[in-house]
Amino acid sequence: MTQIWDFPGGIYPPENKLLSTACPIRNAGIPELLILPLQQHIGAPAETIVAAGDRVLKGQKLADAASGKGVPVHAPTSGIIDGIVQLPVPHPSGMSDWCIVLKPDFHDEWMPLQPASNYRELEPELVLELIHEAGISGMGGAGFPTTIKLKQPDGRSIHTLILNGAECEPYITADDMTMRERADSVIAGLQVMTWLLRPERCLIGIEDNKPEAIAAMRAAITNTQIELVVMPTKYPSGGEKQIIQILTGKEVPSGGIPADIGVMCQNIGTAVAVSQAIFEGKPLISRVITITGDTVQEPGNFDTLLGTPVEYMLNRAGVSMNEVHRLVLGGPMMGYTLHTAKVPLIKTSNCIIAASSRELPDPPPEQPCIRCSLCADVCPMELLPQQLLWHAKASEFEKAEHLNLFDCIECGACSYVCPSSIPLVQYYRYAKDEIRSRKAEQRKADRARERFEARQNRLLREQEEKELRRKERAQAAAEVQAKKEADAQSAGTEGHPIDERAAKAALVAQALARKKAKANKVVPPAHGTDNT
């Protein structure tokens, strides 16, 4: 039995997971239209390499990573590119972003696939490249590109690889069902990652409320060195920092990443995607999504093509739209309310909750903080939620930052227990974004100042150079004048009248000599003509 630790705080919200585990993962099918946002994760958006009207095959690359921090986007099925337009994307702002719209032809015709089952004989760089080309980014949280994460961070080796099967948030069962039904695929993907990272230990953490998943995974890891650890159910044990603390007893330093203490976490869905990319050659074009909530007639998990509109999925699961009070993407703790059901599902979407007004009622009005300190008791990061709220409300962002605001994982435990119904997490998100935008503005101002000063210096230098050249010219002219006078004088005293032609020839000779001297002298390159 592997030793486990505990993390501070935490809550025990109603799980509501049984709703969606009754039936196995179903195939969602192909919708009329697929909407593929160019940015489905943190990092940089991808750049399209197809044009409207092109016919594409299933699995064909539609957009390529523009910079190091992006991943490609692939066609989830065969069809015609309808256009590249701005459409609402799943984002708390409800704003639009660039999307590729694909009209499926329902032939579902694959492009030729190139599996690499013999990956152990390949160079690790090549395997990483395959994972990158498959468009895999983390499928749990913010969606960090998996290749960047798997590349050995310079000088730091990973001694513990953790597969996060906690799935601690209520309602969501996508990872649970994946582990139950696709345990072999999960383990195969995990083994690719262990081969790349070569950690000393490889752990799978699963909460004890998923006995079927535990049994399936236990069967899948026989004859491997992977350890399965059953952890007590407590929210947010699936938070990256929390699961590391539970399984290793170590804390990720403030502002650091798990690699700083030699640990890495990967998601269940990511492991499946890696296994599909390596053993089947298939890029990431679908994922398991939980559709659940009181208003859903057939709640459950669906194998969904990326880009499928939420609307289609709601129809598929039999949601009576007029009963839906709130549509939440993600879990009830960390998800956000969708403004429209037209947004597509993306690589990081794991759950849709179509809730009735009884299930997820409007938040009651915020009341004053009574300093009960319940929030501080449940904070898994041991922060001071009341103090952070105070500073965020007073726009004293520096003080909030000083109290480690940026260590907040926005798990929502504080808001959950608050008897005054204060939307604490929203205050922290607001304060964080405000600090970020101020810093960005400061950087921009500093840059403008630098450029301004560089320009001032350049103008000054040009002025000085001009002055110098003017002085040189004046001096040369004076010298010529003096020489002329001396010549004239000597000619006069010697009494030999020089004929005009000879005098002119002498002048021309002088001018030529001057020009030659000037050409030999290295002229400093003139600045200012180019304004780069």
């Binding site: 704003m95 009005p365 205050y427 840059r447 450029r451 301004f452």
Partner: protein, 195 residues
Amino acid sequence: MSIMWTSILIAILALLGLALVFGAVLGFAAVHFKVEGNPLVDQIDSLLPQTQCGQCGFPGCRPYAESIANGGPINKCPPGGESTIKALAALLDIEPQPLDAEHGVEQARRVAVIREDECIGCTKCIQACPVDAILGSAKHMHTVIGTECTGCDLCVEPCPVDCIDMVLLEPDIRDWGWSAPKPGIIASDRKGADT
């Protein structure tokens, strides 16, 4: 009697000695730890938005910072707006004043965009740009480097063919941030507000 005089003398000498020692230390410090420039000006300058637009009546942000350091008004910077005035007031420990409308009004951030078909390549805007954010050469089309433009307006005036537009920045999903929760109604007001 002489003991008293001696002790007075000792006291005077001791004080004199101390005065000399500390004087020497202070003199040394004044020479060796001299701060170049006025640190207050630097602090003020770092709070200004660095658009270098000259709307305050000074040729650039730093001269304005110098004037503030010399006790000038702090409400002459429209690009910085209220937040800059507040930050300056906090730094200088004085009362914030409303923005002086004489110098312009606070407006959303904009960038200059050249209508490239109409540009005649006169380089006048290049010379006007305080942050070298316009690219081009004589008789060739010019263009604005959008990420470097501070939106100062200074290039608009010199353009002989009026081909420069100041364009409002489109809100981008990547710059979006959460807003503060709206100050709530109290519980007993709830029914009334909903209807």
